[in-house]
Each structure stands twice: as structure tokens, then as C-alpha cells.
């Protein structure tokens, strides 16, 4: 599906990977590898969540790391996003999107967790949970 211009320097469409040796849409081994890795990471996440061995406050961080790894597996093996110059537009767009997502989520958590300067002192634990960070 990747069409070449006369000099073969065309960008790659998202989802198609590099124009060139790999050809189109990747091949079966790529997808199978991706499936195996993703399944492994999912399994690990469930293990970590239930784990007695890992220090409790570190569990959220571990889960996030595993999630990021899994998303990476999806991006590379299923969506064929690479760091080559023919994928520059695709990766830059992705980076911009990630930047916004991080800002919105962590910005909101930071702001909302601090919005107690105009509030009366809180008595009940349930009320205080309103400002507790989920992480």
C-alpha cells in the first residue's frame, strides 16, 4: 500500500511501517511476537497488582511502567510506528498527543489535589479522600 514517488523517499502512512524492505503491513511473525509480548506484560501486570512481594506503595509505579511497555509493544508491533525519518510525522504527532495527555491528566491531578485553600478544615476521612492523590 505504500506508494513510492520516483525517488522512493515518500513518508510512510501510520500503520504501515517503513516503506522499503519490510514491505506492506508487516508480516505474521511481527504480529505474533507482539501478541506474545503483550500477553506476557498483561500477565505480569495482574501478578504485580496482587503481589505480596513488591513494596505496596511501589505497585502503582510498577503498573504504570508495565502499561507503558505494553503500549509500546502495540505501537511497534501492531501499528508499526518507528523512529525512522519516514515515520517522523507520525511519531511527532504521537509525541504531541502524549504531551497533551500527560498535561491534562497530571495537571488536573496536581491542581485538584491542591484546591483546599478556600475550604474549611475537614473532619471525616471520606471528605479528606477528596484531595488524596490516586497514585
Amino acid at each position: 500500500m505504500t506508494e513510492r514517488t520516483e525517488d522512493g523517499r515518500e513518508d510512510a502512512a501510520p500503520g504501515e511501517g517503513s516503506s522499503g524492505a519490510r514491505g506492506t503491513s508487516g508480516d505474521i511473525s511481527g504480529y505474533t511476537m507482539g501478541l506474545a509480548l503483550a500477553a506476557l506484560l498483561t500477565f505480569l501486570s495482574f501478578v504485580v497488582a496482587d503481589s505480596e512481594v513488591i513494596w505496596h506503595p511501589a505497585i502503582p509505579a510498577a503498573l504504570i511502567a508495565l502499561a507503558i511497555a505494553q503500549m509500546g509493544v502495540h505501537l511497534v508491533f501492531f501499528l508499526h510506528i518507528t523512529s525512522g525519518p519516514d515515520n517522523a510525522n507520525n511519531s511527532l504527532a504521537l509525541a504531541f498527543g502524549v504531551f497533551i495527555v500527560v498535561l491534562v491528566i497530571f495537571g488536573s491531578i496536581w491542581i485538584m489535589g491542591h484546591l483546599n485553600h478556600n475550604m474549611m478544615p475537614m473532619s471525616s476521612a471520606t471528605d479528606q479522600r477528596m484531595f488524596k492523590s490516586p497514585l
Binding site: 504531541f96 491534562v104 495537571g107 485538584m112
Partner: protein, 666 residues
């Protein structure tokens, strides 16, 4: 059968909406009747309503914007008159009415006045400047426009069927929750904004893809006109910010319709979350509005000084800087909500920093003008007017960025002065400048200079007279959105401001007169060659108006200012470049998909507002069916024959050869 809708929804007991609604209805009937009598329906349907041509869609967007600006302005007139009359007196608008008016004023001005105007200009100009035939997704473009029109229609229907929101242009919770706003007003707001929001998002995707993936050969990123760079930044912001608006309003909708507790006062809801989320959209939104205006000014300052834009690369850097940083400042809209000093300071510093980008642009414009041969045509006047007003408005913004100052000035008239200063002086002046600058390109004749200049001077005087008193009033302690005034000391300023509205009204009248007189005298004002302003970018190489396919042969760009070099070479050689080899051109087919989709969107929205559930389902099915029918078509393009292309382009070349010959003789 009809949900909550019954005859009590029509405001027979309220004279103002009744009179306004009747007047609009009569005007509409008049226009439709005139079209019918002249037999223009076929032309309108084939050439405009079903058009997927970016130029036609751009014009329709601008027309929608202009009409809605008039509606928003009439709301403003009522507000100013009310505040002038209601000093220790009741005024003529009861609170429940006045609240709807200021809410409608803001909503319409931003969502249905400025946004369509700005998007329309980008739609029209960007493909021409990039040297391409249309945007990336022409049918999607049509859908986007008609969805925006659908939202505008719903808001206007609220005037005569039901009521509008009373919550301001951003419906803060918990006031906007069902408990405190049980009527249909907030629902009208929610659905019209959601529907038009989809249209805007699609438009953003369209223009980003066009600018990044479709440019003439040789037009690298650093050879794009500045307007295309600012259009890129603005549309990137649309793509990144509008989904947040969609999500937040969806949460409010879930609260109102299904009893969720996102922003309610009870069951753990957090109304402050609404402010946080809505402003993380709201701040990028104002940059979405101003960035294209900055681009327009870059084009105008360079063209009317006869010099290339000064500091092109730093302008690009400043634009991208503003684009990114605009996402990191949103808390400055609610410094007083109680986030504490750390958080306030961080966002306050970010807000001050973002002014640097604008500062870079202003200095670059000044250096562009310096040493140039300045022509004071109307677009240049608007640009200079912008320069003066925007700097003041921007500085008041930097003042507000200081949290301790903001604690005094938040939601005061000082704030109202600031944002009107920058939006009217920035966005609107830019839109008017762009409209006059590109009008000849779109329609083939220039606008009347005399009326244009009058419009400018009256508008500038009006803007200053209305909004400078607001700064004073804000510092004296007056808050915004007051239905009645209890402080007599504010009277002189309120009177001055109301007189300013009268001056602005004269300006508006001059704008309308400019259009009417120009249309009546269009032969005298005809743009023969397509290059009335001695332009520098590719759109001025086409005829006025350009043919459907824009360029007979795709341009090959070899330097910055794609058209200027070509033109200078032709003048020097005293002849045009050789006639190119023409080929047949394929253009996308017109389709009623956009119009029909928007029709179903309107009925869906109306049905949701009034709880007419069967109509919701029927409308959604209709929309899906429209989509499937469109997706099933086999022929997406028509061909323009090579003879026709040759004929059209030879006419263009002949006009330019005539101009060259004239230049030689002179």
C-alpha cells in the same frame, strides 16, 4: 409524543424575543422568497449547498460568522443599554432575561461568530497558498461546515422555542446542573456546542493533514507562507483541545440526563473539576482564535510595506512556542479558586512567559514595516489598529497573570475589558482585515475603499470608547454580568461606554454599506488580473475568483515567497513563463452528504433537548444511513477536460500579459 415540548415553550409573553423572532422570520421568508422568485434554488443547491470546494465552504463559513456577529452584537447593545438604564433602577431586562442575553452573547460571539469567520478564512486561503487543489478531505470539509451551521441554528431556535442557558458562555457547575437549571436552556447550549464541536474538530484534522501532507512541490516547511504556519498551529490546537471540551460537556450532559455525579454538590461530585477541565480547553481556544489573525497580519504587513516578512524563522519558532505553551497556562482563569501559592505561581509564570512569543511577533512586524514603502489601504489600517489595541490588551493580560493582582481583578470589568480588547482588537480586526484583503480573490472585485476606511475608523473609535471605561470600572470594583448597578459613581463610565456602542454601530453600518455598495458597483471595482494588492504568495497567481481546480498546473516552488520571485522574473523578462502542458484535472464530486448529515444532527439535537426519544433514534439512524449511502458511492470524482483547462488558463494568462504590457508602457 413530543417529550417536554408544548406551546408554553414559545415566549408569547416576552416582547423582545417575540419581536426579534418575528423580525428574523420575516427576513428569512423575504430572502427565501427572493431566491424562489429569481429561480436561484438550483444554482444554490448545485454550486453552494452541496459544494465540497474549499473556496465555497470558506465563503459560507465567513458568511455564517458575519451574520452571527450581528446577532451577538445586538445582544451586546441590549446589555450596554440595560447597564446604563439600570443604575439604581430596574432597567428593562429582568434578571432571568438578562442572564440569557449575556450567555448568548458570549456563546454566539465565540463559537458561531469568531470561530467560523477564522476557520472560513483558513479554509479559503490555505490550499491556495500551499499551491494545492483542495484540502485533504473535501467532503469532510462540507460536513464540518454544515455541522457548525446546525449548532448555530439550534442556538437561534432557543430564542423562540424554549429558552437559552443563564449560566454564562461557559456553564459552570453546579449552576448548570439540573438542580439549579431545570429548564432546557443549558441543554440547548450543550447540544449545539457538541454538534458544532464535532464539525470544528473535523476541520482541524482536515487542515493539519493538508498543511503537513499536501503542499506544492518545492514548498518545504520553511517556505510556507506565515499564514499557513499559524493555521497549522491553530489547527493543532483544535485537534488537541476540542476533545477536552467534548469530554467535559459530555460529563455535564451525563449529570443532567442520567443523574451522574461529576460536578454535583452531593454524592462526592466536584464542581471545581468542571472549571479545571473546561479551561484546559478554554485557554487553547483563545489561541486558536488569535493565531490565524496573527498570520493574516504577517501577510498584510509584508504585502503593504512591499517587503518580505522580517525574521521568518523566529516567527515560526514563536508560533510553535505559543502553540505548545498555550497548553500550560489554563489555571490563570481560576487563580482565586484556591489552589494555593505554589500552583498559582507556576501557572502565573507560564502565563507571563507566553507573552514572549507574541512580543517576538510584534517586533518582527514592526521591523517588517520599517524601511518599507507603506500603502495605507484598508487592510493595512485594520492591521495598524490591531497593533495599537492588541498591545494594550495583551499588557492588561500580563497584569492579570500576576496572581495577587488577579485576586483583585478576577471577574471584574477589568477582565472583561482585557478579553474584549484582545478578541475584538485582535481576532475581529484580523478577520476584517483578512476579509477585505482576500475578498477580491474570492469574488473578483474589490471592496469600496471609502466605506472600508469609514468602517475602520468608526470601529476603532467605538472599540476604544466602549472598552477603556471597562478598565476603569474594573479598578473601581465593578464586577461583570451585573443586571443592575447600585453604585452611582460608576455612572459616567457606563454612559461613555454605551455611547461607544453607538459609534460601533455606525462602524457596523459602514461594513454593511461597504458590502452593498461594492456589490452594486462591482464592475467598476473589478479585479482584472487576480493580483490587486501586488501580493507575494501563491494565491495571487490565480485568477479572481480562481477556477474550481485552483491551479491549471501544480506550481513548482523554488524559494520563500513563492509568487514574488516568479512575478519579478516575469517583469524583468517582460514576458510570462512559457505556456505549460495542460492535462485533464480530476476534482471531487459535489455531494449533499454534509447538508443531510447536519439536518439529522439538528433534529437529533432538538430531540435530545426536548426529550423526544423516538426522534433521537430516528435521526441517528438517518445520519448513519446518510454515511453508508455516501460510503457506498462508486464515483467520487469528475473530470475537467484538457480543453476547458487550457481555455480557462489562457484567459488568466491573457489578463496578466495585458498587465505586463501596461507596466512596460508606464
Amino acid at each position: 409524543m413530543l417529550g417536554k415540548l408544548d406551546w408554553s415553550a414559545v415566549p408569547v409573553g416576552e416582547p423582545i424575543p417575540l419581536a426579534a423572532g418575528t423580525a428574523v422570520f420575516i427576513i428569512m421568508l423575504g430572502v427565501l422568497g427572493w431566491i424562489t422568485r429569481r429561480g436561484h434554488w438550483r444554482y444554490l443547491w448545485l454550486e453552494w449547498i452541496t459544494s465540497v470546494d474549499h473556496k465555497r465552504i470558506g465563503v459560507m463559513y465567513c458568511l455564517l460568522g458575519l451574520v452571527m456577529l450581528l446577532r451577538g452584537f445586538s445582544d451586546a447593545i441590549m446589555m450596554r443599554v440595560q447597564q446604563a438604564l439600570a443604575i439604581n433602577a430596574p432597567g428593562f431586562l429582568p434578571p432571568e432575561h438578562y442572564d440569557q442575553i449575556f450567555s448568548a452573547h458570549g456563546t454566539i460571539m465565540i463559537f458561531f461568530g469568531s470561530m467560523p469567520f477564522v476557520i472560513g478564512l483558513m479554509n479559503f486561503v490555505v490550499p491556495l497558498q500551499l499551491g494545492v487543489r483542495d484540502v485533504a478531505f473535501p467532503t469532510l470539509n462540507s460536513v464540518s461546515f454544515w455541522l457548525t451551521a446546525s449548532g448555530a441554528l439550534l442556538v437561534n431556535i432557543s430564542l423562540v422555542v424554549g429558552e437559552f442557558a443563564r449560566t454564562g458562555w461557559l456553564p459552570y457547575a453546579p449552576l448548570s446542573e439540573l438542580a439549579y437549571s431545570p429548564g432546557v436552556g443549558v441543554d440547548y447550549y450543550l447540544w449545539s456546542i457538541q454538534i458544532s464541536g464535532v464539525g470544528t474538530l473535523m476541520s482541524g484534522v482536515n487542515l493539519v493533514t493538508t498543511i503537513l501532507k499536501m503542499r506544492a512541490k518545492g514548498m518545504g516547511y520553511l517556505r510556507m507562507p506565515m499564514f499557513c504556519w499559524t493555521a497549522l498551529a491553530s489547527n493543532l490546537l483544535i485537534v488537541a483541545a476540542f476533545p477536552i471540551l467534548t469530554a467535559t460537556l459530555a460529563m455535564l450532559t451525563l449529570d443532567r440526563y442520567l443523574g451522574f455525579h461529576f460536578f454535583t454538590n452531593d454524592a462526592g461530585g466536584n464542581p471545581m473539576m468542571f472549571m479545571n477541565l473546561i479551561w484546559s480547553w478554554g485557554h487553547p481556544e483563545v489561541y486558536i482564535l488569535i493565531l490565524p489573525a496573527f498570520g493574516i497580519f504577517s501577510e498584510i504587513f509584508s504585502t503593504f510595506s512591499g517587503k518580505p516578512l522580517f525574521g521568518y524563522r523566529s516567527m515560526v519558532a514563536a508560533t510553535l512556542f505559543i502553540c505548545v505553551v498555550s497548553f500550560t497556562v489554563w489555571l490563570h482563569h481560576f487563580f482565586t479558586m484556591g489552589a494555593g501559592a505554589d500552583v498559582n505561581a507556576a501557572f502565573g509564570i507560564a502565563t507571563s512567559v507566553i507573552a514572549v512569543g507574541t512580543g517576538v511577533k510584534i517586533y518582527n512586524w514592526l521591523f517588517t514595516i520599517y524601511g518599507g514603502r507603506i500603502r495605507f489601504d484598508t487592510p493595512m489600517l485594520w492591521a495598524l489598529g490591531f497593533m495599537v489595541t492588541f498591545i494594550v490588551g495583551g499588557m492588561s493580560g500580563v497584569l492579570l497573570a500576576v496572581p495577587p493582582a488577579d485576586f483583585m481583578l478576577h471577574n471584574s470589568m477589568f477582565l472583561v475589558a482585557h478579553f474584549h480588547n484582545v478578541i475584538v482588537g485582535g481576532v475581529l480586526f484580523g478577520a476584517f482585515a483578512g476579509m477585505i484583503y482576500w475578498f477580491p480573490k474570492a469574488f473578483g472585485f474589490r471592496l469600496h475603499e471609502g466605506w472600508g476606511k469609514a468602517a475602520f475608523w468608526f470601529s476603532l473609535a467605538g472599540v476604544v470608547t466602549v472598552f477603556v471605561p471597562f478598565y476603569v470600572l474594573g479598578l473601581e470594583g465593578m464586577t461583570r454580568r451585573l443586571q443592575h448597578i447600585d453604585v452611582s459613581e460608576w455612572t459616567p463610565w457606563l454612559y461613555v461606554s454605551t455611547m461607544g456602542v453607538a459609534i460601533m454601530l455606525v462602524g457596523v453600518f459602514c461594513q454593511v454599506a461597504q458590502l452593498v455598495v461594492s456589490i452594486l458597483n462591482r464592475e467598476a471595482l473589478r479585479d482584472e488580473t487576480g493580483d490587486p494588492w501586488d501580493g507575494r504568495s501563491l494565491e495571487w497567481s490565480t485568477a479572481s475568483p480562481p477556477p474550481t481546480f485552483n491551479f491549471a498546473v501544480p506550481p513548482d516552488v523554488t524559494g520563500q515567497e513563492a509568487y514574488w520571485g516568479v512575478k519579478q522574473r516575469a517583469i524583468k523578462a517582460e514576458r510570462l513563463s512559457d505556456e505549460p502542458d495542460y492535462e485533464a484535472i480530476e476534482i471531487p464530486r459535489n455531494t449533499p452528504t454534509g447538508f443531510i448529515t447536519a439536518f439529522f444532527a439538528t433534529t437529533t439535537g432538538f430531540a435530545l433537548i426536548w426529550y423526544i426519544w423516538w426522534l433521537v433514534i430516528v435521526s441517528l439512524l438517518g445520519a448513519y444511513a446518510t454515511f453508508v449511502v455516501f460510503a457506498w458511492r462508486d464515483v467520487g470524482e469528475t473530470e475537467i477536460s484538457v480543453e476547458e483547462v487550457r481555455c480557462i488558463d489562457r484567459a488568466r494568462r491573457a489578463a496578466r500579459e495585458a498587465r505586463l504590457a501596461q507596466k512596460e508602457e508606464a
